[in-house]
Symmetry: C2
Subunit: 374 residues, 2 copies
């Protein structure tokens, strides 16, 4: 077992890797299951001793299954605030779980593909995270883990209701299926709020980069199911897949329309984003994420070479506050962080070949340009 | 005589050349004299025939003196709107003179050092323009021209009042002495309005880049005398020189304070200005001037190599609307102009060596930077 969570995690975080299907729009796919041991009360109703017992049993059980070989385990009380923020920035733990200490714990699988939270709202919250659009693959991975765990421990289960959970919204399958989407095209066309409304009407939830109640920094949105009861896991996933296919289509249309109708303005926004990121000496996290989003769009549109993608996706993770503090100095003030962030962005982006933008044809032919007379 | 004003003028305009004394703060020095022929009424009170007679006489006289050998002459009616705007952008004619047509004229000396406006507010408005801070040199040049002209024509002169002028504000010496100052340090420290007030109390006027009532685009300010009566030309120039010396000192202090107190923020503003100018695909004239001003400050502070200066100073001139239209296409719409301007800025700035900013020591030592752990 690795002693230090820092040594265990390696950039880029799986949640922002880019080698998956539909990766230009879907950053990652995630399936999470909520489970509880039959013999213990739900965490909120458990005594400290009971919570400790759940933690001990869960750690033992999770570590024993082959899916979690080579994993990292710890109690939340072993982590400091910075550790927790890093895990949040990597989408491995929820904000709620970060607030827990004694009696709660964590097991992260090798490569951050699988992760189990112990004594969050439920005894077990297990998730599988895959790059790109592959909800079924994520479901298969977490289902296998779940089956392996169920062979070793008895879950709270009702033959009519299904899996019992602390909150009724998770009752039944206990499943939450979500995808992290990068939607700069719709954001630039101001058509994102319509989509959010439409998605909401289908019983799905739309959230920002850091989950519930968070802003859509970097034009990144999470879409997930709300209902867990009365449908099978497969139906829930297929339903989300259908909606995602539509959103991917809408985003592609938005990008095509921007290229067709406002190519100059699009190039301008992307070019300025690159100019600022590669030349600023201080930059806040929010601005950095929003500008990196435009660079990522620029790569998708072949405005920048494909070789930029890895760097840009790593910068999405590494420029976040906790990651910066970890990599430089835990005691950085916000001002120092903004300066270090700018230093990192300048260095990384200026190390890349200077971009020679390949403009789409529409842009060059959209205006006359007579020869220079001078 | 050159047929076309376009062929006569060459970039960069003298008013923005940079090889003069104190050139980092004083862009140019100018002395202008107002004179009228004794035998004609002032332009406003003259008949068209009288104005034509003045124009003919003035052209003949001005062309005949050795100081104006190789000059370009024309009637204002020979110039179209674009010509006039270019002359304004080069600070060779006033906005008032640009509005004139038949009966008014212009003689521009070789190299744009000397210029005589005919039938503006007075029969003759002659100016000498020198790069950097050299009011005395400008005065000497225009005084020689004036003496040469006075040997060939009789001026309206009163032994008590001095030279008679159409407007009482020019009576006496008929002199206007002005300097064009680049004050980004004071602008960034928000201390410019105090200086403007103080200068106003001394009986001097402060104007923007394009003269009376214009904005201080690019942090460029014109300071000039208001009084022309009761003091000799030399006294007026010495007084302005004293005030300019103080403003230069204040600007130097402002820059030093910025470097000392807010080095990061200063680098950040200059770096971002460079990033935007060298990567935007559309940019308005005003934004371009304001960002070029920061690049110029960056050169003065050795943030950028000295080799940038010529390019940046040329861009100050060439990115202005009339110059762009002249160099590309007279029929450019404002949107097309903003795109062409951005193209020019990108091409010119990206042709320069990529800057490796030499940061002042204070900046690097202002924060701790422990080694990267990752």
């Amino acid at each position: 077992m690795t002693k230090n969570i820092h040594d265990f995690l390696t950039p880029p975080a799986r949640g922002l890797q880019t080698d998956g299907p539909n990766m230009s729009i879907v950053l990652s796919s995630r399936v999470r299951l909520a489970r509880n041991f039959e013999e213990f009360p739900f965490p909120e109703h458990a005594s400290e001793a009971q919570r400790e017992a759940v933690l001990e049993k869960a750690l033992e059980t999770v570590q024993s299954v082959p899916q979690m070989a080579g994993s990292f385990s710890c109690a939340m009380s072993d982590l400091d605030g910075l550790d927790k923020n890093i895990l949040m920035e990597r989408h491995l733990i929820s904000r709620e779980h970060a607030a827990k200490s004694s009696g709660s714990g964590l097991v992260v699988g090798k490569g951050e593909h699988l992760c189990v939270l112990i004594n969050e709202e439920d005894h077990l919250r297990m998730q599988a995270l895959c790059p790109g659009l592959q909800l079924m693959a994520a479901w298969k991975a977490v289902d296998e883990l779940d089956t392996a765990l169920e062979s070793k421990a008895k879950y709270a289960f009702d033959s009519k209701l299904g899996y019992l959970t602390a909150c009724a919204t998770n009752l039944g399958t206990g499943i939450r299926v979500s995808a992290m989407l990068h939607l700069p095209g719709m954001a630039l066309r101001d058509s994102i709020s319509q989509t959010i409304q439409a998605v909401g009407k289908l019983g799905l939830a739309v959230r920002g980069l850091y989950g519930e109640g968070s802003e859509a920094l970097g034009n990144i949105f999470q879409i997930s199911n709300q209902r867990t009861l009365g449908e099978t896991e497969r139906e829930i996933i297929e339903k989300l897949n259908k909606v995602l296919a539509q959103i991917i289509e809408q985003e592609k249309n938005a990008r095509a329309l921007l290229l067709e109708k406002k190519p100059k303005s699009l190039c301008n926004q992307i070019g300025r984003a690159y100019g600022i990121l590669s030349n600023a000496y201080t930059i806040a996290s929010k601005e950095a994420l929003n500008l990196l989003s435009l660079i990522r769009l620029g790569i998708d549109l072949e405005f920048f070479p494909e070789s930029y993608r890895t760097t840009v996706d790593e910068l999405f993770v590494l420029t976040q506050p906790a990651h910066l503090r970890r990599n430089y100095n835990e005691k950085l003030t916000p001002e120092e962080r903004d300066a270090i962030r700018a230093d990192m962005l300048r260095e990384r982006l200026q190390n890349l070949e200077r971009p020679v933008p390949k403009l789409p044809k529409e842009i060059d032919s959209s205006r006359e340009r007579p020869g220079q007379t001078d």
